[in-house]
């Protein structure tokens, strides 16, 4: 029997739906302590003082950790790629979002852990916060990040991700119509059934076993090893079966703090985030602000596109520079637009840091560019299928960063949808294929962008 192409049952499907699959919280190790965190009660503040002495002396409390206990406190998700880090594991001098972890405790039970968190003395000096990206670039905007209010470390230390292609001014001069619009996809929560959960167990041989709900065992192990400054063989990550992630478990949330507490307290430590923590303190999908102006001809060719993107990173960078770069690479969507001018910024605000979620960087731009496409079609009085088919990327057309498309299916997928909903296309549109442009479909403005495809 052929295995590839077969409708085989999901490997762990029955176990999942009968409740037999083992997730991190199902792992029971005798002597496990309960972890709770002290989180910032303010959106933006300086830490004047932090005193954990009372909590440490409470009966049933086995360990309390603050930034002083972390061998490498500031380590970024993109540090391994040589990108500077900005986010402390536990806050040191300041807090930049409501919910930011400052200290964590491990205690015999949940009530004791919560009481110990209450017993930590924290003195904050509140500072002005920024929530609206659009004013973060104002000359008098409150400064909320030591790098400035937007990320300054793209290649060559640029503070903006740029795409430039063709001759944008000529395209706008040549246009019959220029349509501009603003698109604002929302921040959303990944909302997995399994909240962020970690369990760190100090083993007899001196190693630490970390039970993790991570989407990326080796990545998370690397993050924990960096914070602890230990080699990889000191750690064993156990996981691989995850109760929903959708991008929200690429960031390493609970594991490093559990490992620190396990080392300090000498007992297994489990931190299961509450549903409230999951909603308020785990990374979310970012909100975006996207402005587009397209230079178009009366007969529906898109000659050029200008774009300004602001990406709401929240308080720290995490994967946001990656997300904006990916966004820029795909900002023409499924079409060939030869003249481009794109500026994208990673903007800091005092909200919980945003990070990966399904479609990272592109879900936002697909929304913006496709609604924009529908608007242009309406404005020009052109059928929305036809304008898409006409501008659809073809084999050998090039992407915003100059890479030739090898196997685009924009044309057949659009044709399939037209047929499915009974939208009759004119014969010339029904006959279109993804093959390289020629004839009427290779107008002068698209000639220069055509690249080469190896066959």
């Amino acid at each position: 029997m052929k295995a590839v192409g077969a409708r085989l049952p999901r490997y762990d499907g029955v176990a999942h739906v009968t409740g037999k699959s083992v997730f991190v919280d199902d792992v029971r190790i005798p002597g496990t302590l309960c972890v709770k965190a002290l989180r910032s009660p303010l959106h933006h503040a300086g830490i004047v003082s932090l005193d954990t002495s009372k909590a440490e002396k409470m009966p049933g409390v086995h360990a309390v950790v603050t930034h002083k206990d972390v061998p490498l406190n500031v380590y970024g998700h993109l540090s391994a790629l040589g990108i500077p880090a900005d986010e402390p594991l536990l806050a040191e001098d300041d807090v930049r979002w409501l919910g930011q972890p400052i200290a964590a405790v491990a205690a015999e039970d949940e009530d004791t852990a919560l009481a110990a968190v209450e017993a930590i003395k924290l003195d904050l000096e509140e500072r002005p916060a920024v929530f609206d990206m659009r004013i973060a670039g104002d000359p008098d905007a409150p400064q909320i990040h030591h790098w400035g209010n937007w990320y300054p470390h793209f290649e060559a230390e640029m503070d903006v991700r740029q795409i430039r292609k063709g001759d944008i001014d000529a395209a706008f001069d040549a246009a019959d119509v220029i349509v501009s619009g603003v698109y604002r996809p929302a921040a959303i929560e990944q909302a997995p059934l399994e909240t962020q959960t970690g369990l760190a167990v100090p083993e007899a041989d001196g190693r630490i076993t970390v039970y993790s709900c991570t989407q990326a065992l080796y990545f998370s192990m690397g993050v924990v090893a960096a914070h602890l400054q230990v080699p990889l063989n000191r750690l064993k990550f156990v996981g691989g079966t995850v109760g929903g992630g959708f991008g929200g478990k690429v960031d390493t949330a609970a594991e490093a703090i559990c490992a620190l507490l396990a080392l300090k307290g000498g007992r297994p430590c489990k931190w299961r985030w509450t549903r409230e923590e999951e909603f308020l303190c785990s990374s979310t999908r970012a909100a975006w602000h996207i402005e587009i102006a397209d230079a178009v001809t009366k007969d529906g060719w898109i000659l050029g596109r200008k774009t300004l993107t602001l990406h709401d990173a929240g308080a720290y960078a995490r994967f946001s520079p990656y997300g904006v770069t990916k966004h820029s690479f795909h900002h023409t969507g499924a079409y060939s637009i030869p003249n481009l001018h794109f500026d994208g910024y990673v903007v800091f605000t005092n909200r919980s840091p945003t990070s990966a979620m399904r479609g990272y960087g592109v879900t936002s731009v697909s929304f913006a560019t496709e609604v924009h496409m529908s608007r242009i079609a309406k404005e020009l009085g052109i059928d929305p299928f036809e304008i898409r088919l006409k501008n659809a990327n073809r084999i050998a057309d090039t992407s915003p960063n100059g890479i030739a498309y090898t196997d685009p299916s924009t044309v057949p997928t659009i044709q399939a949808i037209a047929e499915a909903i009974g939208h009759e296309l004119p014969a010339e549109y029904r006959a279109m294929t993804p093959d390289p442009r020629e004839g009427d479909l290779l107008p002068e403005h698209l000639a220069a962008q055509v690249g080469e495809v190896d066959h």
Binding site: T214, G333, A334, T363, I403
Partner: protein, 368 residues
Amino acid sequence: MAKHTGRGISAIEYPTGMNQNGDPSQAWIKIKPDGRVDVFSGTSDIGNGSKTIQSQIVAETLGVPYDWITYDNSNTDSSPVCTGTFASRATFVAGKAVEKAALSAKEKLLEIAAKELEIAPEDLEVVDGEVIAKGAPQKKIGVPDVAAAATWVHGELITGTGAHLNPYAAIVDPETGRVDSPPHAAISYAACAAEVEVDDETGEVRVEHMWQCFDVGRAINPTLVEGQIQGGALMGLGLAVLESCYPYYPSVEHRGTEFGSYFVPGIEGLPKIDTIIIENPSALGPYGAKGISEMANNPQPPAIASAVFDAVGVWVTELPITPERVLRALEKKDEGPRRDGKWVIFDEDISVNTVAAEGSRFRFPVGA
């Protein structure tokens, strides 16, 4: 006051693998003395089905039944590196790693079988758990017998290792964003149509029907890929009309803290969904597969927003398209875009040009 029906469409593309690549996956395989196969891969299964898909790829490549495969992704002591389950990479990149590991194990398997059958390995193939001579199928030996012979007669262990890495694509010109090589493992494509019903009295948008067509390269498991597409459609519906961490964004007030105050799509909002799969194979993916898991929630929000316009004549470009936003847009329906020379300027009230102060870093000049 009435309910209005409208339709909208979208067409999208999405890359497979991490943007700019450079994201390795590794795997290894060992065959037990009875021919059963242990696969060690570091790919977390987050519900995407990678345990199933990778097991299918190994079964197909080795030529043994699917239920002979045990898949272990449980820990970092046993399993080698997988960059992770994100960036739509588990089927393509990690799938390619297990395919290569299976090819390497198969080579070893045929080496042992060749000794047992006294036929050169290149003249053998594995079909349904048996090693048979090409062109002479009566000459054969079961994979369990080969594995037993390896263990007890030849003193060998049948293993295979595989790794896949698409090389990192560097940005060679930060001014233009040009890269030195393809920054993706593959690109997938999709189109979508949505039909909505909008109540112009309450502002409620109900998505009635979605049609979706995805180019998946190759459906390794059609049931699972349909599940991704249909599940993604629901997530896209949530993005379009329901979900926001900040209901009054950019305000941070009124955040939902539980499922009772944060609305994800429920079964009562399930529209009719038609799924069309196109298989335009990737030249490089395992068996031609491309990754589509993430993009499955991308085409619906724009199709739904366009359908809302088709129904009631207003563009709602801030998500989600809540009843409040629909009603506020309907109040201003007659205003339309500003026209200035050949410019048609929508949404000026929410632009940085309106909200940011003079001298802001963020500007987007519009108008003649």
